[in-house]
Amino acid sequence: MQQIIANAMAAQLDKMFRFVVGASYANNGAPATAGAAPVTGATAIPAMSVVLANSTKTLTDLAEVVDGFYIFN
C-alpha cells in the first residue's frame, strides 16, 4: 500500500513538472540508450516512487532521479 501511495504522489509530481513547471521528458521521450525503455511517465513515475516511498531520502536524491527523466527549459 505504501508503494501505491508513493506512486500516486509521483504521478502528481509528473504532472506538476509538465503542466506547472513546463518540463518535457528527456530525449524527447525516446529511449536514452539503445534497448532502453522510452523516457515517459511510465519510467519516470516508478523511479520517483522509489525515492518518495523512503522517508530517509532527501530532496537531492529525488532531484538526481528527476534529472534523468525531465528537461526543464
Binding site: M1, Q2, Q3, I4, I5, A6, N7, A8, M9, A11, Q12, L13, D14, K15, M16, F17, R18, F19, V20, V21, G22, A23, A37, P38, T40, G41, A42, T43, I45, P46, A47, S49, V50, L52, A53, N54, S55, T56, K57, T58, L59, T60, L62, A63, V66, D67, Y70, F72, N73
Partner: protein, 413 residues
Amino acid sequence: MKNKHVLVFVSAVWLSSTAQTLADALTSSPETSGPASTNNAAKATIDALPLSSSIRQLLTNQIFGPDTYNTALKNLLNPMLASGNIDFKTLAGIITNLNIKFEAFDTSTNGGKQGLGLQYSYQKSITQTELISKEENPLYLSFDFNANGNVAFNKDVNPANFLDTGFKLHLFQSIGGVEPLMPPLGAAYFSNAAFVSTNTSVNEIANRSNPKLEKFLDDVKAHIIDQFYWDVGTSFSLEANQTLAEKQWAAGLRLALVKRAWNDDSFFAKYNLFDYPFAALRYLSGADPTWKPSGQALPSLSGGIDLVGPYGDTTRLAVDHSTAPYPRLDGEVNFKSKVAKLMGKDVWFSASYRYYDEIDAPSSVREASLAKQEYFVATIGFASGFNFNYSNGKLPFDQKSNQVYALGYSIGF
C-alpha cells in the same frame, strides 16, 4: 546547486505545504510491526556478569537496542555505496529500493517477552509502458517485483510472522491533480525561487516564512485540483512465515484507490471528517496557526480477491487435509495525518487495518479460527525516524492474536 534541483525542490515544497511533509505524507502505511527476540544466550551471559543492575541494563540496551543494529548497518553499507566500486553497483541498485526498520518490541502474549527484529520492504518495477498516451491523464502498465515482511531474531516470538513475496502486473492512472489547461509558469519563474537548500530532508520541509516561497505556493495553488488515483492489476505471490515452514501461494486481482485534495479550498479538504481530531491537535499544539483539516489525510483503500493454494500451510492442513486452492478476500485501509510539531519537527499519526477472510471456509477451518484474520497497527512517528507502534490482531500463519508495543527506527538506502 543545479537549476533542476531547484525546480524539483519547489515542486516538492508545494506538495509538502499542502500534503504536509513529502515522504511522511507518502509513507502512510505503518507496515506490520517487526518483532524479534533478543539473543537469549548472549543475554544470559550478560546477566551472569557481576555488574550492578543499572550497568547491566545499560549494557543490555546497548547491545540489543535497535539503534545498535541501525548504526552497524549504516556503517557497513554506506562506505560501499560511496566507494563507486563497480562491484557494488549491483548491490547499490538492489538496496536503493530496500527499506529496513529495526524494532524493539514487547508482546502482551508469549509471556510479555521483549525482542528485537526488523521489518523490510522492497519494490522494483521491472518493466513499464504508457498504454494510453493521453496528455492529461495517461494510463500506465507496469510489471513489478515486491517483497515485504517481518523477521524476528527469535522466530518463536514473532507476533507478525508473515512474509509476502511476488510479482504484480498492474494498470494505474492519476486523474486530475493539476488544472490541465493552465499555461506552465515556466523555468524562468522557478529560477528565482532558489530560496532554500536542496539538501533539506524531505522530512524537514517546514520553512514557510520565506515570501518567495509563500508567493510560489499561492501561484501554484490556483492551478491545483483534486487528484484521484486508481491501480488495478493481477498478482502472484508466495506467502510464508519467516522460516518458510508454513507457506502458500496466492494469485488474484487487486484494486487500490487513493484520493488527495491538494488544494486547501477543496470540498474534500474542508470536510475531511477523518482529519478533524488531528486538525484540532495541530491547532492546539501550535503546529498549525489555524484549524485546518488536510485533504491529504484521506484514507486510502486497497483490496482484492485471491485464490490461495495452501500446499505448505501445515497448520491449516492439520485441520483440513485438502490442498485444493480456496478463495480469499482481503482489504486494507490506511490513514496518516500530522498531529503536532515538537522542537520544530513534525510528529505523525498513522494507522492501518488489514483484513483477510476465506470465502465459504470449511467448518473445521472456521472452528480452528483460521478462516479470518484482522490486524491493526497504529504508529506515532517522528521526523528523526524514531517511532512508536501499537499493533493488535493476527496475520495469516499467526495462530493467536497479539498485542504488541514496539519502538523502532527507520533506515533507508
